[in-house]
């Protein structure tokens, strides 16, 4: 209904500024213009306050000489491995916790407790266990995403409409097939929400971990900007980090979540 009314108003007035996309774009154009204007006033030195054009040049150079591409590749590789491990383990663990009361009361409360710990706090422990290396970072990423996915899957399994289980039992589903073909798909909307949340936790944990020691990756590029007093690079890398986070959320998780929720009859 709202959409129809909005569309009707739009055609009546015919003004470009009534389109949501145009408004958003206009806002960001104005923001960049104001930023550039503020820079030109020269209130702060460029190493404290960069210009949009300077950041743009650094971005272009970073992609041209491939330092940004390498940084993105290294970070994304860690993120994908860590996330894949978390997704698989988290779903299995959540499934078990959601179905077995004993596990829920024991292991479940441990998971809940660990969730209160910001995942970057695992880094000192990981460094002692694994040394300064890839595994320590992956461990932190996994600890960031795993618990969120576990808890969401567990909630999904627990809140599944029992009528699905009764129908499935009635139609002859037993043991592993009941889990794989009914319990798991019934909880899929919650699992996907958990993965969406887990992905953003993994991304944050990864950046935090990469900032803390020499690691290649985007986090190190960010730190390098600081060490070189190159504010353009600092802001450019921040923009890349924002872009990756947004793109994955908007292009992968949000459409997936919307589609699954619609098909499962859970509304918008």
């Amino acid at each position: 209904m709202i959409d129809i009314t909005a569309a009707a108003t739009e055609t009546r007035r015919g003004s470009l500024l009534d389109r949501p996309v145009v408004r958003t774009l206009a806002f960001f154009l104005l923001l960049v213009a104001a930023w550039e204007a503020l820079f030109r006033l020269g209130l702060w030195p460029p190493y404290l306050f960069p210009s949009p054009s300077g950041v743009g040049r650094t971005l272009a150079r970073g992609f041209e000489n491939r330092t940004f591409i390498v940084g993105i590749a290294v970070s994304m590789r860690r993120l994908l491995i860590g996330f894949a491990v978390s997704a698989l383990a988290g779903t299995l663990l959540g499934l078990a916790l959601g179905r077995a009361r004993l596990l829920d009361q024991t292991l479940g409360s441990l998971v809940l407790g660990l969730q209160a710990l910001p995942s970057i706090c695992w880094l000192p422990l990981a460094l002692l266990w694994f040394g300064l290396g890839e595994q320590a970072i992956l461990f932190v990423v996994v600890m960031g995403a795993l618990l969120a996915i576990t808890l969401s899957t567990q909630a999904g399994v627990k809140n599944t409409d029992p009528v699905y289980l009764r129908a499935a039992l009635n139609l002859g589903a037993r043991s592993w097939r009941l889990y794989l073909l009914v319990v798991l798909p019934a909880a899929l909307p919650a699992i996907i929400s958990g993965m969406k949340l887990g992905w953003s936790f993994a991304w944050r944990s990864l950046m935090a971990a990469e900032l803390l020691y020499v690691s290649l990756g985007l986090g190190q590029l960010l730190m390098m900007g600081r060490e070189l007093n190159d504010m353009n690079q600092v802001v450019a890398v921040m923009l890349v980090i924002i872009a990756i986070g947004l793109v994955v959320d908007r292009l992968v998780f949000t459409p997936l979540e919307t589609r699954v929720r619609a098909r499962w009859g859970l509304g918008e």
Binding site: D161, R166, L169, N170, L171, R263
Partner: protein, 262 residues
């Protein structure tokens, strides 16, 4: 007897134990269409769950083909009020689900499933997903999903309770046709008196808290019956009186007093 309940009592525990069913004796012959009629809270659904093997009686026996029910089995398939179709599967996937569980090969189960989809007039919708179906279509898919397993007994738990009148009337016709064609034993739970008369050979009236069999009616009106038939309406008045009499929650001493009925 196809299905037999002998002195079945079901209590639900907790701080305030509820007697859902008390000393139920009921025999259902093969090919019978029995409607269980009663207000909400009279244990109708509990009774179906016991026959389905999804729940166990506190005391008494539930027998199918003379054997005590041990758990759910594909010889007795339940159809739920909410249809309970699996939203992650399309229509064909839902209908063939039971056959997949019982291990029939893909070509076989697809052929069987399509046959039942034709029976419920949904052959063109086999690739449709559940959220795109109307309430009436969902119940038809649920019916086809149950029939695909070729069970001896259909357990129907207010399957048409949430449908609009038109969809429901249509499904009454179709269910009567399917029942005549397949000779299934049907236990059909409803709180709608006319629906019970239209569908059932026998209407068993239950009273609530504790659920007891109050009275039974044999319905021998000619089929197919429609909900607006005069004979159906007349009979429903008679049954409604019995039903109302038992629907009160007042203590037994006050039972039967005019005005005490709901």
């Amino acid at each position: 007897m196809k299905v037999e309940l002998r002195g079945v009592t079901k209590r639900f525990g907790g701080k305030n134990p509820v007697v859902a069913l008390e000393s139920i004796d009921l025999g259902v012959g093969a090919g019978d269409f029995v409607c269980l009629l009663g207000p909400s809270g009279c244990g109708k659904t509990t009774l179906l769950n016991l026959v389905a093997g999804l729940d166990r009686p506190t005391s008494g026996q539930v027998l199918v083909d003379g054997q005590p029910v041990q758990g759910p089995g594909t010889d007795r398939v339940m159809i739920f009020q909410t249809a309970a179709l699996f939203p992650w599967l399309d229509v064909l996937g839902n209908v063939e689900f039971g056959l997949r569980m019982t291990g029939s090969a893909r070509p076989d189960r697809q052929e069987i499933s399509r046959g039942y989809l034709r029976m419920v007039h949904l052959l063109d919708f086999e690739q449709t997903f559940v959220h795109q179906l109307s309430g009436g279509m969902k119940q038809r898919v649920a019916l086809a999903r149950a029939l695909a397993l070729d069970p001896d007994v259909l357990l129907m738990d207010e399957p048409f309770g949430a449908l609009d009148a038109q969809a429901r009337d249509l499904l009454h016709d179709e269910l009567q046709n399917i029942w005549s064609a397949t000779a299934k034993t049907v236990l059909f739970v409803t709180h709608n008196v006319r629906e019970a008369i239209v569908l059932g050979d026998r209407v068993v009236v239950l009273s609530p808290r504790p659920g007891r069999i109050k009275q039974e009616f044999a319905i021998d009106l000619p089929r197919p019956r429609q909900i607006e038939n005069y004979a159906v309406v007349d009979l429903s008045r008679e049954i409604l009186n019995v039903l109302k009499d038992g629907a009160q929650v007042t203590p037994p001493a006050e039972a039967g007093r005019p005005g005490a009925a709901r």
